[in-house]
Protein backbone atom coordinates (compact mmCIF):
# COMPACT_ATOMS: atom_id res chain seq x y z
CA UNK A 1 0.00 0.00 0.00
CA UNK A 2 1.21 3.44 -0.92
CA UNK A 3 2.23 5.83 1.81
CA UNK A 4 1.29 9.48 2.30
CA UNK A 5 4.01 12.04 1.76
CA UNK A 6 3.69 14.80 4.34
CA UNK A 7 2.96 18.20 2.78
CA UNK A 8 3.48 21.39 4.74
CA UNK A 9 2.73 24.99 3.77
CA UNK A 10 5.29 27.40 5.19
CA UNK A 11 3.77 30.86 5.07
CA UNK A 12 4.78 34.23 6.28
CA UNK A 13 1.83 36.46 7.08
CA UNK A 14 2.27 40.08 8.09
CA UNK A 15 4.02 43.02 6.60
CA UNK A 16 7.61 42.73 7.73
CA UNK A 17 10.11 42.06 5.03
CA UNK A 18 12.27 39.27 6.41
CA UNK A 19 11.79 35.67 5.51
CA UNK A 20 15.10 34.24 6.65
CA UNK A 21 13.44 32.36 9.49
CA UNK A 22 10.78 30.96 7.18
CA UNK A 23 13.43 29.81 4.71
CA UNK A 24 15.43 28.09 7.44
CA UNK A 25 12.37 26.22 8.63
CA UNK A 26 11.41 25.31 5.04
CA UNK A 27 14.84 23.76 4.54
CA UNK A 28 14.64 21.90 7.83
CA UNK A 29 11.27 20.46 6.84
CA UNK A 30 12.61 19.41 3.46
CA UNK A 31 15.48 17.68 5.25
CA UNK A 32 12.90 15.91 7.42
CA UNK A 33 11.45 14.50 4.19
CA UNK A 34 8.44 16.81 3.88
CA UNK A 35 7.24 18.41 0.71
CA UNK A 36 7.25 22.08 1.62
CA UNK A 37 5.15 24.59 -0.25
CA UNK A 38 6.86 27.91 0.19
CA UNK A 39 4.95 31.05 -0.66
CA UNK A 40 7.21 33.92 0.32
CA UNK A 41 6.51 37.14 2.15
CA UNK A 42 3.38 39.08 3.06
CA UNK A 43 0.72 36.43 2.72
CA UNK A 44 -2.76 37.35 3.86
CA UNK A 45 -4.74 34.76 5.87
CA UNK A 46 -7.15 34.42 2.91
CA UNK A 47 -4.30 33.68 0.56
CA UNK A 48 -2.76 31.19 2.96
CA UNK A 49 -6.01 29.27 3.27
CA UNK A 50 -6.63 29.28 -0.50
CA UNK A 51 -3.11 27.93 -0.98
CA UNK A 52 -3.59 25.24 1.67
CA UNK A 53 -6.70 24.09 -0.17
CA UNK A 54 -5.09 23.94 -3.61
CA UNK A 55 -2.00 22.21 -2.27
CA UNK A 56 -3.81 19.74 0.01
CA UNK A 57 -1.39 20.20 2.88
CA UNK A 58 -1.40 18.43 6.25
CA UNK A 59 0.02 21.36 8.13
CA UNK A 60 0.25 25.13 7.87
CA UNK A 61 3.36 26.53 9.55
CA UNK A 62 3.15 30.28 10.15
CA UNK A 63 6.35 32.16 10.62
CA UNK A 64 5.93 35.60 12.21
CA UNK A 65 8.11 38.41 13.38
CA UNK A 66 5.92 41.42 12.99
CA UNK A 67 3.97 41.28 16.22
CA UNK A 68 0.57 40.91 14.61
CA UNK A 69 0.42 37.22 15.48
CA UNK A 70 -2.55 37.74 17.81
CA UNK A 71 -4.73 38.86 14.92
CA UNK A 72 -3.26 37.01 11.95
CA UNK A 73 -2.80 33.50 13.38
CA UNK A 74 -6.38 33.25 14.75
CA UNK A 75 -7.61 34.61 11.42
CA UNK A 76 -5.99 31.67 9.64
CA UNK A 77 -7.49 29.11 12.01
CA UNK A 78 -10.89 30.79 11.76
CA UNK A 79 -10.88 30.74 7.96
CA UNK A 80 -9.76 27.11 7.94
CA UNK A 81 -12.64 26.25 10.24
CA UNK A 82 -15.13 28.12 8.09
CA UNK A 83 -14.04 26.10 5.09
CA UNK A 84 -14.16 22.85 7.11
CA UNK A 85 -10.42 22.54 6.72
CA UNK A 86 -9.66 22.51 10.42
CA UNK A 87 -8.27 18.98 10.15
CA UNK A 88 -5.14 20.81 9.00
CA UNK A 89 -2.61 21.22 11.79
CA UNK A 90 -1.59 24.85 12.39
CA UNK A 91 1.70 25.64 14.09
CA UNK A 92 3.45 28.95 14.58
CA UNK A 93 6.97 30.15 15.05
CA UNK A 94 8.84 33.35 15.61
CA UNK A 95 9.25 36.00 18.23
CA UNK A 96 6.11 35.45 20.27
CA UNK A 97 5.81 36.51 23.93
CA UNK A 98 5.12 33.66 26.34
CA UNK A 99 1.92 35.22 27.62
CA UNK A 100 0.42 35.16 24.12
CA UNK A 101 0.92 31.44 23.63
CA UNK A 102 -2.17 30.29 25.60
CA UNK A 103 -4.31 32.76 23.64
CA UNK A 104 -3.04 31.38 20.34
CA UNK A 105 -3.59 27.80 21.45
CA UNK A 106 -7.09 28.71 22.48
CA UNK A 107 -7.60 30.05 18.96
CA UNK A 108 -6.65 26.72 17.43
CA UNK A 109 -2.91 27.03 16.89
CA UNK A 110 -1.62 23.65 18.06
CA UNK A 111 1.90 24.61 19.01
CA UNK A 112 4.17 27.63 19.06
CA UNK A 113 7.88 27.29 18.50
CA UNK A 114 9.85 30.19 19.90
CA UNK A 115 13.35 31.11 18.68
CA UNK A 116 15.96 28.58 19.71
CA UNK A 117 13.70 25.56 19.33
CA UNK A 118 15.68 22.99 17.31
CA UNK A 119 14.09 22.70 13.87
CA UNK A 120 14.21 18.92 14.12
CA UNK A 121 11.86 19.17 17.09
CA UNK A 122 9.34 21.16 15.03
CA UNK A 123 9.46 18.53 12.30
CA UNK A 124 9.02 15.77 14.85
CA UNK A 125 6.03 17.55 16.36
CA UNK A 126 4.37 17.85 12.96
CA UNK A 127 5.00 14.18 12.16
CA UNK A 128 3.37 13.16 15.41
CA UNK A 129 0.39 15.48 15.30
CA UNK A 130 -0.93 15.71 11.76
CA UNK A 131 -4.00 13.77 10.74
CA UNK A 132 -2.92 12.07 7.52
CA UNK A 133 -5.80 11.91 5.09
Amino acid sequence: MAERKIRVLVAKPGLDGHDRGAKVIAQAFRDAGFEVIYTGLRQTPERIVATAEQEDVDCVALSMLSGSHLTLMPKVTKLLKEKSMDDILVVGGGVIPNEDIPLLKEAGVSEIFTPGTPTSLCAEYIKNNIHLK
Binding site: F29, G33, E35, V36, Y38, T39, T51, Q54
Partner: protein, 320 residues
Protein backbone atom coordinates in the same frame (compact mmCIF):
# COMPACT_ATOMS: atom_id res chain seq x y z
CA UNK B 1 -22.45 14.51 -5.34
CA UNK B 2 -19.71 11.95 -5.84
CA UNK B 3 -16.15 13.02 -6.34
CA UNK B 4 -16.28 12.70 -10.11
CA UNK B 5 -19.19 15.14 -10.28
CA UNK B 6 -17.49 17.42 -7.80
CA UNK B 7 -14.34 17.55 -9.88
CA UNK B 8 -16.33 18.16 -13.05
CA UNK B 9 -17.99 21.04 -11.20
CA UNK B 10 -14.57 22.46 -10.46
CA UNK B 11 -14.38 21.60 -6.76
CA UNK B 12 -10.86 22.53 -5.70
CA UNK B 13 -10.56 20.41 -2.60
CA UNK B 14 -11.71 17.20 -4.27
CA UNK B 15 -9.39 17.83 -7.20
CA UNK B 16 -6.38 18.61 -5.04
CA UNK B 17 -6.99 15.48 -2.96
CA UNK B 18 -7.20 13.38 -6.10
CA UNK B 19 -3.93 14.84 -7.35
CA UNK B 20 -2.43 13.92 -4.01
CA UNK B 21 -3.79 10.38 -4.25
CA UNK B 22 -2.22 10.15 -7.70
CA UNK B 23 1.12 11.37 -6.39
CA UNK B 24 1.00 8.91 -3.51
CA UNK B 25 -0.08 6.18 -5.95
CA UNK B 26 -3.27 5.28 -4.13
CA UNK B 27 -5.14 2.63 -6.12
CA UNK B 28 -8.49 4.44 -5.78
CA UNK B 29 -7.01 7.37 -7.72
CA UNK B 30 -6.71 5.18 -10.80
CA UNK B 31 -10.41 4.38 -10.71
CA UNK B 32 -11.20 8.11 -10.61
CA UNK B 33 -9.05 8.70 -13.68
CA UNK B 34 -10.89 5.90 -15.48
CA UNK B 35 -14.14 7.72 -14.84
CA UNK B 36 -12.80 11.17 -15.69
CA UNK B 37 -10.98 10.25 -18.88
CA UNK B 38 -14.05 10.44 -21.16
CA UNK B 39 -14.47 14.09 -20.15
CA UNK B 40 -10.88 15.11 -20.90
CA UNK B 41 -9.28 16.41 -24.06
CA UNK B 42 -10.81 19.87 -23.86
CA UNK B 43 -8.04 21.91 -22.22
CA UNK B 44 -5.12 23.42 -24.07
CA UNK B 45 -1.90 22.19 -22.49
CA UNK B 46 1.12 24.47 -22.56
CA UNK B 47 4.52 23.48 -21.17
CA UNK B 48 7.29 25.80 -20.04
CA UNK B 49 10.81 24.51 -19.73
CA UNK B 50 14.26 26.05 -19.32
CA UNK B 51 17.04 26.28 -16.75
CA UNK B 52 16.26 27.09 -13.09
CA UNK B 53 16.12 30.86 -12.68
CA UNK B 54 15.32 31.43 -16.34
CA UNK B 55 12.06 33.04 -15.29
CA UNK B 56 9.53 30.27 -15.95
CA UNK B 57 7.43 30.98 -12.85
CA UNK B 58 7.49 34.73 -13.51
CA UNK B 59 6.36 34.12 -17.08
CA UNK B 60 3.62 31.81 -15.84
CA UNK B 61 2.42 34.59 -13.57
CA UNK B 62 2.32 36.96 -16.54
CA UNK B 63 0.53 34.38 -18.68
CA UNK B 64 -2.04 33.89 -15.90
CA UNK B 65 -2.73 37.60 -15.83
CA UNK B 66 -3.13 37.83 -19.59
CA UNK B 67 -5.37 34.77 -19.85
CA UNK B 68 -7.52 35.92 -16.94
CA UNK B 69 -8.10 39.21 -18.73
CA UNK B 70 -9.54 37.17 -21.57
CA UNK B 71 -11.81 35.37 -19.11
CA UNK B 72 -10.03 32.02 -19.37
CA UNK B 73 -9.76 29.56 -16.49
CA UNK B 74 -6.37 28.02 -15.87
CA UNK B 75 -4.78 25.17 -13.99
CA UNK B 76 -1.05 25.31 -13.26
CA UNK B 77 1.14 22.33 -12.41
CA UNK B 78 4.51 23.56 -11.15
CA UNK B 79 7.18 20.92 -10.73
CA UNK B 80 10.26 21.26 -8.53
CA UNK B 81 12.86 18.61 -7.69
CA UNK B 82 12.72 16.24 -4.71
CA UNK B 83 15.88 15.78 -2.69
CA UNK B 84 17.38 12.40 -3.60
CA UNK B 85 18.64 12.08 -0.03
CA UNK B 86 15.60 12.80 2.10
CA UNK B 87 12.76 12.63 -0.42
CA UNK B 88 11.75 16.09 0.79
CA UNK B 89 11.31 19.10 -1.46
CA UNK B 90 10.92 22.84 -1.38
CA UNK B 91 8.26 23.80 -3.86
CA UNK B 92 8.70 27.51 -4.45
CA UNK B 93 7.28 28.24 -7.89
CA UNK B 94 4.08 29.61 -6.37
CA UNK B 95 5.96 32.54 -4.82
CA UNK B 96 5.82 34.35 -8.16
CA UNK B 97 2.15 33.54 -8.76
CA UNK B 98 0.58 34.11 -5.36
CA UNK B 99 -1.42 37.15 -6.44
CA UNK B 100 -3.65 34.67 -8.30
CA UNK B 101 -4.04 32.32 -5.33
CA UNK B 102 -7.53 33.50 -4.38
CA UNK B 103 -8.83 33.72 -7.93
CA UNK B 104 -11.45 30.95 -8.22
CA UNK B 105 -10.63 30.55 -11.92
CA UNK B 106 -7.00 29.77 -11.18
CA UNK B 107 -5.83 26.54 -9.58
CA UNK B 108 -2.12 26.27 -8.86
CA UNK B 109 -0.65 22.98 -7.70
CA UNK B 110 3.01 22.34 -6.82
CA UNK B 111 4.41 18.89 -7.47
CA UNK B 112 7.73 17.32 -6.51
CA UNK B 113 9.56 15.10 -9.00
CA UNK B 114 9.83 12.20 -6.51
CA UNK B 115 12.73 10.69 -8.36
CA UNK B 116 11.37 11.03 -11.89
CA UNK B 117 14.06 12.14 -14.33
CA UNK B 118 12.13 13.57 -17.25
CA UNK B 119 11.69 17.06 -15.74
CA UNK B 120 8.16 16.44 -14.55
CA UNK B 121 6.68 14.00 -12.06
CA UNK B 122 4.96 10.70 -12.69
CA UNK B 123 1.64 12.18 -11.60
CA UNK B 124 1.69 15.04 -14.12
CA UNK B 125 -0.08 13.17 -16.93
CA UNK B 126 -3.05 12.20 -14.78
CA UNK B 127 -3.05 15.56 -12.96
CA UNK B 128 -3.57 17.20 -16.36
CA UNK B 129 -6.62 14.96 -16.78
CA UNK B 130 -7.93 16.17 -13.42
CA UNK B 131 -7.55 19.87 -14.29
CA UNK B 132 -8.89 19.23 -17.77
CA UNK B 133 -12.03 17.56 -16.45
CA UNK B 134 -12.51 20.45 -14.02
CA UNK B 135 -13.17 22.47 -17.16
CA UNK B 136 -10.00 24.52 -17.22
CA UNK B 137 -9.46 26.23 -20.56
CA UNK B 138 -5.70 26.04 -20.17
CA UNK B 139 -3.32 23.82 -18.25
CA UNK B 140 0.17 25.22 -17.84
CA UNK B 141 3.02 22.99 -16.79
CA UNK B 142 6.25 24.39 -15.44
CA UNK B 143 8.99 21.77 -15.58
CA UNK B 144 12.06 21.45 -13.40
CA UNK B 145 14.53 22.15 -16.18
CA UNK B 146 17.78 21.27 -14.45
CA UNK B 147 19.75 19.95 -17.39
CA UNK B 148 18.88 19.26 -20.97
CA UNK B 149 17.27 15.85 -20.59
CA UNK B 150 13.92 17.09 -19.36
CA UNK B 151 11.97 16.64 -22.54
CA UNK B 152 9.11 14.50 -21.25
CA UNK B 153 6.85 17.53 -21.33
CA UNK B 154 6.60 17.15 -25.11
CA UNK B 155 4.45 14.07 -24.58
CA UNK B 156 1.81 16.04 -22.74
CA UNK B 157 1.73 19.58 -24.09
CA UNK B 158 0.17 20.91 -27.27
CA UNK B 159 2.74 23.67 -27.22
CA UNK B 160 6.15 23.69 -25.53
CA UNK B 161 7.79 27.00 -24.67
CA UNK B 162 11.55 26.85 -24.12
CA UNK B 163 12.86 29.75 -22.03
CA UNK B 164 16.43 30.91 -22.55
CA UNK B 165 18.33 33.76 -20.92
CA UNK B 166 21.28 35.68 -22.36
CA UNK B 167 24.47 35.17 -20.42
CA UNK B 168 23.23 32.08 -18.59
CA UNK B 169 25.21 29.68 -20.69
CA UNK B 170 22.22 29.23 -22.95
CA UNK B 171 24.33 29.81 -26.05
CA UNK B 172 23.48 27.80 -29.12
CA UNK B 173 26.51 25.54 -28.67
CA UNK B 174 25.29 24.51 -25.23
CA UNK B 175 21.72 23.76 -26.24
CA UNK B 176 21.50 20.06 -26.78
CA UNK B 177 19.57 18.65 -29.67
CA UNK B 178 16.67 17.38 -27.58
CA UNK B 179 15.67 20.68 -26.05
CA UNK B 180 16.05 22.41 -29.40
CA UNK B 181 13.62 20.05 -31.06
CA UNK B 182 10.90 20.15 -28.47
CA UNK B 183 10.55 23.94 -28.68
CA UNK B 184 7.41 25.16 -30.42
CA UNK B 185 8.16 28.69 -29.26
CA UNK B 186 11.42 30.10 -27.92
CA UNK B 187 11.47 32.85 -25.33
CA UNK B 188 14.59 34.93 -24.85
CA UNK B 189 13.77 36.08 -21.35
CA UNK B 190 15.30 38.97 -19.41
CA UNK B 191 15.94 40.45 -22.82
CA UNK B 192 17.03 43.71 -21.18
CA UNK B 193 20.35 41.97 -20.58
CA UNK B 194 23.36 42.17 -22.85
CA UNK B 195 23.47 39.51 -25.49
CA UNK B 196 19.74 39.11 -26.02
CA UNK B 197 19.88 40.17 -29.66
CA UNK B 198 22.89 37.97 -30.36
CA UNK B 199 21.23 34.97 -28.76
CA UNK B 200 18.02 35.58 -30.71
CA UNK B 201 19.99 35.88 -33.95
CA UNK B 202 21.89 32.66 -33.22
CA UNK B 203 18.72 30.74 -32.49
CA UNK B 204 17.05 32.08 -35.60
CA UNK B 205 20.01 31.13 -37.72
CA UNK B 206 20.03 27.65 -36.30
CA UNK B 207 16.29 27.27 -36.84
CA UNK B 208 16.66 28.38 -40.43
CA UNK B 209 19.39 25.82 -41.01
CA UNK B 210 17.36 23.06 -39.41
CA UNK B 211 14.20 23.89 -41.34
CA UNK B 212 13.24 21.23 -43.82
CA UNK B 213 10.78 21.68 -46.63
CA UNK B 214 8.07 19.56 -45.05
CA UNK B 215 8.28 21.50 -41.86
CA UNK B 216 5.58 24.13 -41.97
CA UNK B 217 5.81 25.49 -38.45
CA UNK B 218 8.77 27.79 -38.06
CA UNK B 219 9.51 28.08 -34.33
CA UNK B 220 9.22 31.76 -33.44
CA UNK B 221 11.68 33.48 -31.12
CA UNK B 222 10.10 35.98 -28.72
CA UNK B 223 12.12 38.44 -26.69
CA UNK B 224 10.61 39.36 -23.34
CA UNK B 225 12.03 42.28 -21.39
CA UNK B 226 12.48 42.82 -17.69
CA UNK B 227 9.51 42.03 -15.51
CA UNK B 228 10.17 45.27 -13.62
CA UNK B 229 9.20 47.17 -16.74
CA UNK B 230 5.54 46.20 -16.52
CA UNK B 231 4.20 47.46 -19.84
CA UNK B 232 7.09 46.03 -21.85
CA UNK B 233 6.80 42.72 -20.04
CA UNK B 234 3.07 42.54 -20.68
CA UNK B 235 3.63 43.30 -24.33
CA UNK B 236 6.11 40.42 -24.49
CA UNK B 237 3.62 38.08 -22.82
CA UNK B 238 0.92 39.08 -25.31
CA UNK B 239 3.27 38.41 -28.18
CA UNK B 240 4.15 35.03 -26.66
CA UNK B 241 0.49 34.08 -26.26
CA UNK B 242 -0.15 35.15 -29.82
CA UNK B 243 2.42 32.59 -30.99
CA UNK B 244 0.98 29.95 -28.67
CA UNK B 245 -2.42 30.48 -30.30
CA UNK B 246 -0.94 30.44 -33.78
CA UNK B 247 0.86 27.20 -32.99
CA UNK B 248 -2.37 25.59 -31.85
CA UNK B 249 -4.10 26.73 -35.04
CA UNK B 250 -1.22 25.31 -37.02
CA UNK B 251 -1.61 21.95 -35.25
CA UNK B 252 -5.27 21.89 -36.15
CA UNK B 253 -5.01 23.16 -39.72
CA UNK B 254 -2.14 20.85 -40.61
CA UNK B 255 -3.75 17.87 -38.94
CA UNK B 256 -0.61 17.42 -36.88
CA UNK B 257 -2.73 17.49 -33.78
CA UNK B 258 -3.98 13.98 -34.58
CA UNK B 259 -0.46 12.59 -34.56
CA UNK B 260 0.30 14.49 -31.39
CA UNK B 261 -2.72 13.06 -29.62
CA UNK B 262 -1.81 9.58 -30.80
CA UNK B 263 1.70 10.00 -29.42
CA UNK B 264 0.23 11.15 -26.14
CA UNK B 265 -2.08 8.14 -25.98
CA UNK B 266 0.83 5.82 -26.74
CA UNK B 267 2.91 7.43 -24.02
CA UNK B 268 0.14 7.00 -21.47
CA UNK B 269 -0.49 3.40 -22.50
CA UNK B 270 3.21 2.62 -22.08
CA UNK B 271 3.20 4.16 -18.62
CA UNK B 272 0.09 2.19 -17.63
CA UNK B 273 1.54 -1.05 -19.00
CA UNK B 274 4.66 -0.44 -17.02
CA UNK B 275 2.58 0.06 -13.90
CA UNK B 276 0.32 -2.91 -14.45
CA UNK B 277 2.84 -5.43 -15.71
CA UNK B 278 6.42 -4.53 -14.91
CA UNK B 279 5.88 -3.17 -11.46
CA UNK B 280 3.42 -5.86 -10.45
CA UNK B 281 5.80 -8.63 -11.47
CA UNK B 282 8.73 -6.84 -9.90
CA UNK B 283 6.95 -6.56 -6.58
CA UNK B 284 5.95 -10.21 -6.75
CA UNK B 285 9.57 -11.23 -7.34
CA UNK B 286 10.66 -8.99 -4.52
CA UNK B 287 8.12 -10.36 -2.07
CA UNK B 288 8.54 -14.06 -2.78
CA UNK B 289 12.32 -13.82 -2.60
CA UNK B 290 12.99 -14.79 -6.21
CA UNK B 291 14.56 -11.42 -6.92
CA UNK B 292 17.17 -12.16 -4.29
CA UNK B 293 17.79 -15.56 -5.85
CA UNK B 294 18.15 -13.99 -9.27
CA UNK B 295 20.61 -11.41 -7.99
CA UNK B 296 22.71 -14.15 -6.41
CA UNK B 297 22.70 -16.24 -9.58
CA UNK B 298 23.98 -13.26 -11.48
CA UNK B 299 26.76 -12.38 -9.09
CA UNK B 300 27.83 -16.05 -9.00
CA UNK B 301 27.79 -16.01 -12.80
CA UNK B 302 25.54 -19.07 -12.79
CA UNK B 303 23.02 -17.17 -14.91
CA UNK B 304 22.62 -13.86 -16.73
CA UNK B 305 20.02 -11.09 -16.78
CA UNK B 306 18.49 -12.20 -20.09
CA UNK B 307 18.05 -15.86 -19.16
CA UNK B 308 16.61 -14.87 -15.80
CA UNK B 309 14.13 -12.41 -17.27
CA UNK B 310 13.08 -14.98 -19.87
CA UNK B 311 12.27 -17.35 -17.03
CA UNK B 312 10.11 -14.63 -15.50
CA UNK B 313 8.41 -13.91 -18.82
CA UNK B 314 7.71 -17.60 -19.34
CA UNK B 315 6.13 -17.84 -15.92
CA UNK B 316 4.01 -14.67 -15.89
CA UNK B 317 3.31 -13.82 -19.50
CA UNK B 318 2.03 -17.14 -20.78
CA UNK B 319 0.67 -15.96 -24.11
CA UNK B 320 3.85 -14.39 -25.37
Amino acid sequence: MDRIEKIRNGDVRTASRLIRDLEDEFPQAVSAIKELYPYTGQARVVGLTGAPGAGKSTLTDGILEALRKKGKSIGVLAVDPSSPYTGGAILGDRIRMQRHAEDPKVFIRSLATRGALGGISKAVGDSIHVLDSMGKDFVIIETVGIGQQEVEIMNYAHTVIVVLVPGMGDGVQTIKAGIMEIADVFVINKADRDGADTLAAEINLMLDMAASNQQIWRTPVVKIGNVINASEFKQGIDELLGHVDKHFQYLQNSGEIKQKMKNKALFEIKAALNNNINQVIYEQLLNDGSLETMINKMTERSSDAYTLSETVTAKYLKNI
